[in-house]
Symmetry: C2
Subunit: 387 residues, 2 copies
Amino acid sequence: MNSPLKKRVALLGSTGSIGRQALDVIAANPDHFEVEVLTAQSNVDLLIEQAKRHKPNVVVIVNEGGYERLKEALAGEPLKIFSGEKALSSVVQMESVDVVLTALVGYAGLQPTIKAIEAGKTIALANKETLVVAGALITQLAREHRVNILPVDSEHSAIFQCLAGELHNPVEKIILTASGGPFRGRKRSDLTTVTKAQALRHPNWSMGAKITIDSATLMNKGLEVIEARWLFGLGASKIEVLVHPQSIIHSMVQFEDGSIKAQLGLPDMRLPIQYALSYPERLKNDFPRFDFAQYPSLTFEKPDTETFRNLALAFDALDRGGNMPCVLNAANEVAVAEFLNDRLSFLGISEVVEQCLAKMDYIREPRLEDYVETDKMTRIRANELIR
Amino acid sequence: MNSPLKKRVALLGSTGSIGRQALDVIAANPDHFEVEVLTAQSNVDLLIEQAKRHKPNVVVIVNEGGYERLKEALAGEPLKIFSGEKALSSVVQMESVDVVLTALVGYAGLQPTIKAIEAGKTIALANKETLVVAGALITQLAREHRVNILPVDSEHSAIFQCLAGELHNPVEKIILTASGGPFRGRKRSDLTTVTKAQALRHPNWSMGAKITIDSATLMNKGLEVIEARWLFGLGASKIEVLVHPQSIIHSMVQFEDGSIKAQLGLPDMRLPIQYALSYPERLKNDFPRFDFAQYPSLTFEKPDTETFRNLALAFDALDRGGNMPCVLNAANEVAVAEFLNDRLSFLGISEVVEQCLAKMDYIREPRLEDYVETDKMTRIRANELIR
């Protein structure tokens, strides 16, 4: 069954929102894709179910506590089972893997992505934190190993789609659209008592908890700005954020002749996932189509960076460069986790990020060890601030 | 000065709206383009001015009455002067011409376009009537002579831009946007007393009189549907018209994966003119840029084909095929001219077109002579109907 035309996918983070949708896309296109590796952080039950259904050759459970149960449940299946974080870095290098889809959450995506690039695998990148933390290092590695990094984020997929056939034409700017999240239009004083439940209610997209909170604080858009800087090789001055509450135009590119190209569609992550896997081909599917009759008006407004400080902080971190985006990301990961644990207020998230950016040591040209150290020290500092 | 990198342009219809804007584009990019031929129907004064300024090697005045004055005024210039309709067909075949920009009005574009294709010239097509009248014949000829037909109409340029890098991906449908013209939202009963001045007041685009009236009746969009059918090789069922009053999204393409790509910008014909001349490159320019702050809302609605009968008639003519689009065009040219002469009411335009389509003989596979005959006989019939 290992047809050379089929792309063999290692899916890191298969039990999350992107992972589950990626499995739907793969299952719907058995002539084009097959699952080689599935990995999960800790959701053993779903991983067992996925392994039985999608028949990977390898499964990994990162949280070692789940290993025994996984092994027992899959005893009859012809597959290998590993556990632990280091296993991720090995399985992505397997000869039998063509594409690594990195759908794990946060900083954890960094090491396996580096290993996959070093092994020459195509990267379908759903883990934006990898580029946020270490964009210079990752893109340099990708160039050395002649590896394509294909975006899965809907905004970056939109830009990537708009750039098809235009790579010889300089870009004047890109316009990242943002829904504005559940608190669009509110002021800081309206946000002092925001609850977790309110922040988790995204108007358009159904996503994991971390990214949903990041959308409510606009940090998600800030991380995307940094991701775009590295994916498309553009300075911060060429990246604009535009609030578009309907989330239909997923992003845009403006060329040097003033012409703007946009990619549109319903907010449905399966489309950018499929495109990253099938690129440069597009595969016919039966996803619901966008209908203008349902959206007689598409609206646009400037982002309010006074209320949503995180977006301004992300631009600052990008401007300063070095390890500052790594600080931004680590501080945000801790702050969001603590908000979800009811130990930090909504407005406290950007306060923690801002203080970490002000206090952590600046490293102009970090090596991998520096990123690891910056991440660790920032997390300690952020936790201290919250306590 | 005949650098092989410069495209040498024969500009047919240089004194019209598209022609004048094309000369601005050419003059702004002297390293990329030069004017080889200028032709005008009857505006001798402007043609003289243009010839002195843009230094073509050949000028043509179609209306022979202007020849003597033109010759006298340009006596000191190192250029050749011709007159008469047949001269158009000769000059487009000159060795020294690379690109023929067909910016003349109506059926008159057909013969010179055929001659230019036969001589292997790239066509920048601003004369949509050529494809409306004889799309099958023109596209067949272009294939035989391996000639590119590059659209200048903003809608078709938008689609062409969206197709860059996607030619291997099947199109599910194209969505032609329409401003809706000055009478959008009106019903037939509101349009019985429309004056020429009202119909000539287009909300977004500044264009010639004929196309402005066609925009008010929606015939322009009908002609564009037929033009798109031939330019992009799509059946009528894959072409949709969407009213978008702000004229910012110039048109869209939906691919088989459901992804939609759109091209946006201010309504400024210089951009599609420049793109047709510079393709596949884009040239930096200082045209005003689109700013979402000025357009916080883009709106969309279905076209009202009961009020604007011409759009439905164009789809009918395309469905019937053969010489019917030629009938549609000839009847419309006569009707619009008579409306501009105050000899026909606004609603009378579509009545004339509808009656001609009902009465003229159907020819399934017309040859060039059949188109010529159909055009002639339809004009006679339309004039009779109006009298």
